[in-house]
């Protein structure tokens, strides 16, 4: 009896945390069977990640080392933050191709505001805190712009954010006069390059953001509305949800998180390069889809996209360690993305 109660309240706690599908319907005796079924169906990406890590570890002894794993985590942290925003856009049934350029522009803008002694910088030598606030606001503004034209005006999300992507890359070039800016204040460098105890600060920031946005998506009204709008925008509209507002908020979150990603990347490299973050939008979509976020909208569990990010970064790092030529790594990544989208499509078909 005691035991049963414990497991019940344990399931309730999981439910509270948003992993709702772990607690399943139906008769109690089927619960265990159901838990297994749900783990296999909903959380299978973690099993796949484990398999990939095992395979890569057996292929090269350099993979399963603390240094390498930390390196993968550090790389994952920046992509991970961007993936949160991309996943939110996908959940709302849209796309954001502009996140990579937002990453680039954010780093460039941060550098322009803070860096001293370089002619391409503003020379204002701004303190990191106001500089970061400005960069985050610009990120939110980019999301607001994208969201407004997609939700209110009804422009195609793919092409609108493609235009933003090109425009913002140009802005990054303008801000830095096409040069690389480097040497940030030490407190800024701490964000992407420092550690808290043994853990890189960037990883802590990524995990904190994952928890916050998982909470928003699963426990807050706006999060629920993002899922509803992504699942059936007409039903959402008919029951009084402002679809426009929800989509705009999703893009603003995406812009904000891409700006955080840009700050972390420039901080880790201690420089802002005009090409920073290029191609990241596709990695972000790939990691989201590998993590089970459906391209059809409204389906997927945000926390699983951590596994999606780790899969991508593990394969990439593993192939480098295996001395696979760079061109082949590209082909492999393309194939992995293809597989993820194929799986997503088949999952929808099966239903």
């Amino acid at each position: 009896m005691e035991n049963k109660l414990n497991s019940e309240s344990f399931l309730e706690k999981i439910n509270l945390f948003g992993l709702k599908s772990l607690v399943i319907s139906g008769a109690k005796k089927d619960k265990l069977k159901n838990v297994v079924r749900i783990i296999v169906l909903d959380y299978s990406i973690w099993i796949i990640l484990f398999g990939i890590v095992m395979i890569l570890s057996s292929l090269t002894s350099r993979f399963l080392t603390t240094v390498n794993l930390m390196n993968i985590l550090l790389h994952s942290s920046i992509l991970g933050v961007v993936v949160i925003g991309e996943s939110i856009c996908l959940l709302s049934g849209k796309f954001d191709l502009s996140v990579g350029s937002t990453v680039g522009l954010s780093g460039a803008l941060a550098a322009w505001l803070m860096v001293t002694g370089q002619p391409a910088a503003s020379g204002w030598a701004l303190h990191p805190i106001p500089a970061i606030l400005i960069v985050l606001l610009v990120g939110i503004g980019i999301g607001l712009f994208n969201g407004f034209f997609i939700a209110k005006v009804g422009m195609n999300p793919l092409l609108t954010t493609l235009a933003s992507m090109i425009f913002l890359r140009g802005m990054a070039l303008i801000v830095t006069s096409g040069e690389s800016l480097y040497n940030f204040p030490p407190s800024y460098q701490f964000l992407g390059g420092g550690t808290i105890g043994p853990v890189p600060t960037a990883v802590v920031i990524m995990l904190a953001l994952y928890i916050i946005f998982h909470f928003i998506l699963n426990c807050k009204k706006i999060g629920r509305h993002i899922y509803i709008v992504g699942g059936n925008p007409e039903a959402a509209r008919a029951c009084g949800i402002s679809v426009e507002k929800v989509v705009m908020l999703a893009f603003m979150m995406s812009g904000f998180l891409a700006a955080v990603g840009g700050i972390l990347l420039s901080s880790r490299l201690n420089s802002a390069q005009t090409i920073s973050g290029s191609g990241m939008e596709l990695d972000a979509i790939a990691a989201s889809v590998i993590g089970g976020i459906s391209l059809q909208g409204g389906r997927g569990i945000l926390l699983n996209t951590i596994a999606g990010v780790l899969v991508i970064e593990s394969i990439r790092t593993g192939l480098v360690l295996l001395d696979v030529p760079a061109f082949w790594i590209r082909c492999t990544m393309g194939f992995v993305i293809f597989l993820a989208i194929l799986m997503d499509t088949l999952k929808v078909k099966l239903k």
Binding site: K220, K221, I228, G231, N232, E234, A235, R237, C239, R299
Partner: protein
């Protein structure tokens, strides 16, 4: 009739560009009444009801609810006045569970993290969802089931349970039986009769005259955007209504 209509639409016109979808249509529903709205494709049935549900504003005309003039600018306005529309195929969000669908767009909240923020009150929603489902006498295994795993009839029941739990005074159903089998259609019609006993008025849009004659009190016929007939169901026949729909006389 001396009774005050729960809904009164007066001289409603709606133009989509050059197309006159509705021309000076009057429409009224009295308390506890099941009104069938019939007409050929393009007659303006759905347009009229979407205006009532706040989806479109009318080009001209006025809407009164229990004698009071209203101006809907969004579905939320109509919902807040007790008007619920159930669309033929887009009534529910497949990716959301039953409880979530019953509270779609009006999720209950509770304080969390020591009053710092509000979160969705899933437990309370599930309890109230059970009550709402019991009222429509529909058997669904679990309110945590995703709606995509339900049958067509169950999905309609979820939509109706939502309308009831949102304190609907009037429920508009647009071809609710379109995706239903024979048995499920029968269950739906029973449900509509039941709504009447719960003092909820129903507008039933359908092509299926046999269903209409089974549940409705009154039939209103639209043709080419105009209202051409208003008959008490018991005083007319399917053949007469069919003739009105097709020939207009």
């Amino acid at each position: 009739m001396e009774k005050i209509p729960i809904i009164k639409m007066v001289n409603i016109s709606k133009n989509f560009g050059a197309v006159k979808a509705l021309q000076d249509v009057n429409f009224e529903v009295y308390p506890c009444e099941v009104v069938a709205l019939v007409g050929d494709n393009g007659a303006g049935k759905s347009t009229l009801m979407k205006i009532l549900a706040g989806v479109y504003p009318p080009s001209r005309g006025e809407i009164f609810i229990e004698g009071e003039k209203v101006n809907f600018t969004s579905p939320a306005d109509a919902i807040s006045r007790g008007i619920q529309m159930i669309y033929q195929d887009l009534a529910v969000a497949d990716n959301i569970d039953v409880a979530g669908n019953i509270f779609l767009g009006r999720e209950l909240e509770k304080k969390a993290l020591g009053g710092f923020t509000k979160i969705i009150d899933k437990k309370r929603m599930e309890e109230l969802a059970w009550e709402a489902l019991e009222r429509v006498k529909i058997n669904i295994g679990s309110v945590r089931e995703k709606v995509e795993n339900l049958s067509g009839g169950q999905r309609q029941a979820v939509a109706i349970a939502r309308a009831i739990s949102a304190k609907a005074k009037i429920i508009i159903m647009d071809e609710p039986a379109a995706a239903l089998g024979v048995k499920e259609t029968h269950e739906l019609l029973e449900l509509i009769k039941d709504l009447k006993e719960k003092k909820i008025a129903v507008v039933y849009i359908s092509h299926r005259l046999e269903n209409i004659f089974e549940v409705s009190d009154r039939v209103i016929v639209l043709k080419g955007g105009k209202r051409i007939a208003d008959r008490q169901t018991k005083d007319t026949t399917m053949e007469k209504i069919r003739q009105l729909i097709v020939e207009g006389v």
